[in-house]
């Protein structure tokens, strides 16, 4: 089967048209987690034995683990036996029948963001027959990439087509024992993205899951693996600014990045999952483990994230700087409003000599939002001449919200230089009045000031994404002042 027909099949997921495979009797397994469920998932995905074994090891390990409680987030206990861990690709009839059935508020937001109708439908989970424009776009991109030897496909496809690469790198950055959610993900992950950039190749375009809509419904336990071979460069975009609906409350994704000698990986995220309603009901729990390994010398991994959605965000995109002269970067804007909670930050683990890291974190809290930056800078004894600069700024809007900063610094090599700057401020009356006196209305003034506050992060995003992110922040702050 060719890539494009597979893409199309998943995309359309229309049972009568493409004769939905008959050997799968159930579309969804009953709620609950045990070894049989894991075997079933693995079997349905026709996985090799080693992968099933890896999943089972993870599961057995997970049984003995406890949900972490150190983060500054609060939520009722999750019943892991109440979750269904496998769902077949969406079929027509599952979701809303047309855009007319979609929450008008959501549609208003789509329209403000200028999202084409066809994409609106996909984002809102409307079962569409086929979106031929998008398919052809995706297909033409794929052939362009293939010319350069770049592999960009779903994780399941990679397991089938490139098992050696997957086996070599899966779990090499985030081991299955890593943490409660990563371990759970290792046991039950559904699908995700796989990228391999061959030596010396500069990926000619921003890679985005956006062009691979088939992967947009891989749901709650997504697994992403990106490998940049020697001298390779790739920029990967995850998510999109449009609000995404999902009936699954718990999301526990794992992302692993590996950069070999002289390779660079730039990973940008705009996260706008459903945050729950204004009273704090519903909303996604986003418990994500993201980590990059600068394995080779002179390698570089740069994380940029704009986190505006989810009821709870718990994620720390990190860099393990093993290669000599390797560079890790983390740029983050996290916005919480209404009853959203975010505990996010990064870990920079310096192992190699002359490794450098930069952290720029901007937290914005409005309404009852709670925003915590939690970051670790660790300089190991081997990391001669390591450098880190961290800057953590918080902006408060209103008097019901909170901002918290938890920087952890562990230095085991006296030649290291570690700098940490932090600030907490309110949008000042003076700033607002100054803008207003120039004719700029209150809401626009707030957007202007907040966007200025975020500029150091937005400028790290690919151009188009940056414009969208700015619009998104403006939308998110509507009505939060005054």
């Amino acid at each position: 089967m060719t890539d494009s027909t597979q893409t199309l099949e998943r995309l359309a997921a229309s049972d009568y048209k493409y004769g939905f495979v008959t050997d799968i009797e159930q579309d969804t397994v009953p709620p609950g987690l045990n070894e049989d469920v894991i075997r079933l998932i693995s079997a349905k995905k026709q996985e090799p034995d080693w992968l099933l074994e890896w999943r089972l090891q993870a599961y057995r390990h997970w049984l003995a683990m406890k949900q972490p409680e150190w983060a500054r987030v609060h939520y009722p206990p999750i019943d892991y036996q109440a979750i269904s861990y496998y769902a077949a690709p969406k079929q027509k009839g599952d979701g809303p029948k047309s855009l007319d059935e979609i929450d008008p508020e959501l549609r208003r937001t789509y329209e403000k963001l200028g999202i084409p109708l066809a994409e609106q439908a996909i984002l809102a989970g409307v079962a569409v027959d086929a979106v031929f424009d998008s398919v052809s776009v995706a297909t033409s991109y794929k052939s362009k990439l293939a010319e350069k030897g770049i592999i960009f496909c779903s994780f399941s496809e990679a397991v089938r087509e490139h098992p050696d690469l997957v086996r070599q790198y899966l779990g090499s950055v985030v081991p299955y024992r890593d943490n409660f959610y990563a371990t759970l993900n290792s046991a039950v992950f559904s699908d995700g993205s796989f990228v391999y950039i061959p030596p010396g190749v500069r990926c000619p375009m921003e890679l985005s899951t956006y062009f691979r809509i088939n992967a947009s419904n891989t749901g709650q336990f997504e697994r992403t693996l990106i490998i940049a071979d020697e001298g390779a460069y790739v920029s990967y975009l995850e998510g999109c600014t449009a609000p995404q609906r999902d009936e699954n409350q718990l999301h526990a994704a794992v992302v692993e990045l590996i950069a070999l000698d002289n390779a660079t990986i730039k990973y940008s995220t705009v996260q706008n999952w459903y945050p729950g309603d204004a009273e704090g009901k519903g909303g996604i729990y986003n418990f994500v483990t993201k980590r990059g390994l600068c394995k080779g010398r002179d390698s570089k991994i740069s994380w940029t994230q704009v986190e505006t959605g989810s009821a709870i965000t718990w994620k720390y995109p990190s860099c393990v700087l093993r290669g000599e002269n390797s560079v890790g970067e983390f740029y983050s804007v996290a916005l919480t409003r209404d009853w959203q909670q975010a505990d996010t930050g990064t870990k920079m683990i310096h192992i190699g000599r002359n490794t450098r890291s930069t952290i720029v974190s901007k937290g914005i809290s409005a309404g009852h939002g709670q925003n915590a930056y939690r970051g670790l800078v660790k300089i190991l004894p081997t990391a001669e001449n390591a450098r880190n600069h961290s800057q953590c700024d918080s902006l408060l809007m209103g008097d019901q919200c909170g901002a918290h900063t938890f920087p952890y610094i562990e230095v085991q090599n006296p030649s290291a230089q570690v700098e940490h700057e932090a600030s907490t401020s309110k949008i000042s009356e003076d700033q607002l009045f100054y803008c207003q006196q120039r004719g700029i209305g209150m809401e626009d003034a707030v957007s202007l000031i907040v966007n200025g506050f975020c500029k150091d992060v937005f400028k790290e995003l690919p151009m188009e994404f940056a414009v969208e992110a700015q619009k998104l922040i403006e939308l998110k702050l509507e009505g939060s002042v005054g």
Binding site: Y434, C435, Q436, Q437, R438, G439, M442, L448, G452, F453
Partner: protein
């Protein structure tokens, strides 16, 4: 164009302005002088609509409109400009971007389309020369890291681009050396026109050597103690404000 009638203003229950009457007609430049704490900046802020000031009596009309009913941004869109005594820093927002947002906000209010990029660029460059401003200041964040002189120059530059019908300059001369003062004054003078009114607030007479006012008012203890022509400023320079402070009774009579 600006009429202030019996204006009483309190700040945190303390009366700062105690009955101000002032009429400024198009084309006129009025100067308000007075010692520290006399209420000069309060007057500027109340005209512009800053929060924290309570008008207990009186009114301000701007071309017949009740100014006190309008939000600060609406007042600005109506053509009122305040050059701040302490210009505010807005990190991460480029000066040029800020100015364009302001110009377009005013245009929107008037029902006009956003400014043409080329037209705007031409206008900005023309006005930059007026205040001898360096182009690099356009790209820097609004007032961030600007020297005292640069900030004040930037205020006059913004005024020159926005071309308000009425401008209040709140101690724009403070902290300026003589060269910067001249530049700022030249900028203001270039904007003087038969349609435009100015209220220049200053502690020192010096500025009025360069921006020659039509009328001078002495504000003491929340009241206009005396009004006169441009020579009044010179007189104040010689005698100081002590006269008015010590004998408020006499000063009041002098104002009548």
């Amino acid at each position: 164009m600006l009429e202030i009638r019996n204006l009483h203003v309190t700040v945190e229950d303390r009366e700062i302005l105690k009955g101000i009457d002032l009429t400024i007609r198009p084309g006129e430049v009025h100067a308000i002088m007075g010692p520290n704490g006399s209420g000069k900046s309060t007057l500027a802020n109340v005209i512009a609509g800053r929060e924290g000031y309570t008008v207990t009596q009186g009114e301000i009309r701007f071309d017949g409109k009740n100014l006190l009913e309008l939000e600060p941004d609406v007042r600005a869109c109506e053509g009122l400009f305040l050059a701040f005594q302490y210009p505010v820093e807005i990190p991460g927002v480029a000066n040029l971007y800020f100015l364009k947002a302001a110009v377009n906000a005013v245009r929107k209010y008037r029902g006009e389309p956003p400014v043409d990029a080329m037209d705007f660029w031409d206008l900005v460059h023309e006005r930059m020369e007026l205040v001898k401003m360096d182009e690099s200041m356009l790209k820097r964040s609004v007032n961030e890291g600007f020297s005292g002189g640069e900030k004040k120059r930037n205020e006059v530059f913004q005024m020159a681009v926005l071309q308000p019908r009425f401008a209040v300059l709140d101690e724009t001369d403070s902290g300026l050396d003589i060269d910067a003062l001249k530049v700022v004054a030249d900028g203001v003078n270039a904007l003087r026109s038969p349609e435009r009114g100015f209220l220049v607030i200053t502690h020192y007479q010096r500025l009025l050597d360069y921006i020659v006012p039509d009328h001078v008012h002495v504000l003491v203890n929340g009241r206009i103690a005396r009004s006169g022509g441009k020579d009044l400023a010179l007189e104040l320079e010689e005698q100081g404000y002590a006269l008015y402070n010590e004998e408020p009774g006499r000063a009041r009579r002098a104002a009548v």
